[in-house]
Each structure stands twice: as C-alpha cells, then as structure tokens.
C-alpha cells in the first residue's frame, strides 16, 4: 500500500496516475463512495486508487460510524496494488466547530495509522512528490 498526502489541489492524483498505464488502475472517489463499496474494492483486479480519502473519513464520522476500524479491516483484505490519496487537513487553526475539530483530529490519526502500515508514503507539493517513507 502506498499513501499519498498533501495539501488541497497539489496534484496528488496526477502524480499517482503518471506512474501507471491507463488500463492498469481504477480510481475510486472517496467523496462519493456508496455504502459497501470498500468490500467491492477489496477484490478489484486493477490497481486501486482511492482518492479523496479524507472525504470518506469525514462522511463516516458524520454518520457516527467507525472509520478507524473500517479502514484497518479494509487494509487486512486489500493491501497490495492499493494507493490511498488524502488531503492533509491538520495544518491550520483549530476550528470553532466541534465536528470540524473531531474530523481533523481523527483524520490525522487515521493517516498516522495508515502511514505506519504503508510500504511507501509520499507527500506531494506543487505536483512534486517527496518520499518520506
């Protein structure tokens, strides 16, 4: 598994796509994943690129679910040929809104857990990837 992080609009998806042949991957958008899609993704034949992962986390928190264990279970089922792309959202002022605070904290910690398991972690800035693990 490869984790790709970076600020909003830094060219993370393009950075990842440049590494693959057009027919080799399937991009899934975390901003609009239907319920149960993770289970389906787990058996996808192509390289799975899970984009906007932070959006998926946010939605699961909003629904009162447990994205921490969901993602760890998912990684148990699907670890090879998987790229997770997420915005870094923690580098700002602590939000006034309690939900936004919780979302920031939990997303950060989930990314720390994912990074621990990842074979490779890349941070993308201005479209340029820096490998940090």
């Amino acid at each position: 598994m490869e984790l790709v992080i970076g600020g909003y609009s830094q060219g993370k998806l393009n950075y990842v796509l440049n590494n693959y042949d057009k027919n080799a991957y399937q991009v899934y958008d975390g901003a609009s994943l239907a319920l149960g899609t993770l289970e389906k993704i787990a058996t996808e034949n192509k390289v799975v690129i899970l984009d906007h992962f932070h959006c998926w986390v946010k939605e699961r928190i909003r629904q009162g679910e447990d994205p921490e264990s969901e993602i760890m279970d998912f990684l148990d089922q699907r670890f090879e040929d998987l790229v997770i792309i997420s915005d870094e959202i923690g580098n700002g002022i602590v939000p006034m809104d309690a939900f936004e605070r919780e979302y920031r904290e939990r997303t950060g910690r989930i990314l720390v857990m994912a990074a621990k398991r990842a074979d490779k972690v890349v941070r993308v800035i201005c479209g340029i990837g820096q490998r940090i693990k």
Partner: protein, 182 residues
C-alpha cells in the same frame, strides 16, 4: 540541546516528541511542561489522552500556562545537567500569553517575552524539546486577533528554529528533518 518539533493537528507530533525526549534523556529527570488550560470537557479529554500517552514514561508534569521561565524553580532536581524538558505546546503558550487577563498588546513584547522565557529554560536544562504547531496552511482569513496570533506564532517559530539545534516536522507520524545539526 534544543529540538523543536512542529506538525499539524493529529500529525503524531506529541507522540514523536515523547519518544524523542525519552531517547535523549539518559540519567536525566524528565519534566513535562504543560501549557494547556482546561475550559471544558473536550479539553479535559484531550489532556487525559495525553496523560495516558505519557503514563509509564516517568514524566514529572509542571503546569505552566504562562511565564514559562517560572517552571525552572518548580523542578525538584536542581542540577541543570540532570534535567530535560518537553514543553507542549507553543501554540497554547502563546494563546495564553495573548488572550489571558493581563493582555500584552504589543506584538514585539509578546515575542520577546516568550523567546526570552524559552532561552532561560534552555540554559537551565540539559535538553529541551519544544512542540509547536503548524497552523499556517488552511488559507482561511480569520478575524484580526486570530491573524495576529498566527503571525506571532510564525515569528516565534522562526526565532526558535534559529536557536534550536534540530527542527523536525512530523507528517502522518513520520519525522521530516527541517534543520539538522547537533
């Protein structure tokens, strides 16, 4: 030695800072200077979480929301070469200094007060690890007081990284070295 550690919310910077000071604190007493003040249940839980993270690591906690240099006299070990400090965190310390009752209005006075306090602390301990916060990258324009706070924190971080031996950014739990030299 002084090490400054920065990172965003939930980046794993505290956990990294604890490991870092534990590694370099051989034969020294470890002090944890806590700058956060509790105002509500969420704050209480946050502190509990950090306490649990530290438990078993033999830290002695000193609560010091303002006037960080006053922590020196609260240390029971009097030999500076036998004590190390983890200060967490600069963003709370600055907020307390700026927004508490006896507010100092002048930007430079606040910066001087805090950096002088840190310098004194640095001179009185063997190793000092400071956790600060990356609050600079959300692109939002806040009210004047918050913008001033962000500006001052940025300036303090700049000043402290000048006197630090090492500056590290923690990104998703991974240390990225910004300044190396020990």
């Amino acid at each position: 030695m002084m090490i400054m550690i920065t990172g965003g919310s939930g980046s794993g910077k505290s956990s990294y800072a604890e490991d870092c000071i534990t590694k370099i604190s051989k034969n020294c007493k470890k002090y944890y200077i806590a700058t956060m003040q509790v105002f509500d249940e969420e704050g209480k839980q946050r502190i509990e979480r950090h306490k649990n993270m530290r438990s078993g690591k033999n830290f002695k906690t000193i609560e010091q929301p303002c006037n960080v240099e006053n922590a020196i006299e609260k240390m029971d070990i009097k030999d500076p070469s036998k004590r190390t400090v983890l200060l967490e965190c600069m963003s709370n310390l600055l907020a307390n200094e700026m927004f508490s009752d006896e507010t100092i209005q002048d930007r430079h006075m606040i910066m001087d007060k805090i950096t002088d306090g840190i310098r004194q602390l640095k001179n009185e301990v063997r190793h000092l690890v400071i956790v600060t916060n990356n609050v600079f990258e959300d692109g939002t324009v806040y009210d004047d007081a918050t913008m001033e706070y962000i500006k001052i924190l940025g300036c303090i971080n700049e000043r402290l990284s000048e006197i630090a031996d090492q500056v590290i950014e923690v990104v998703v739990g991974i240390p990225v070295i910004l300044k190396e030299g020990m």
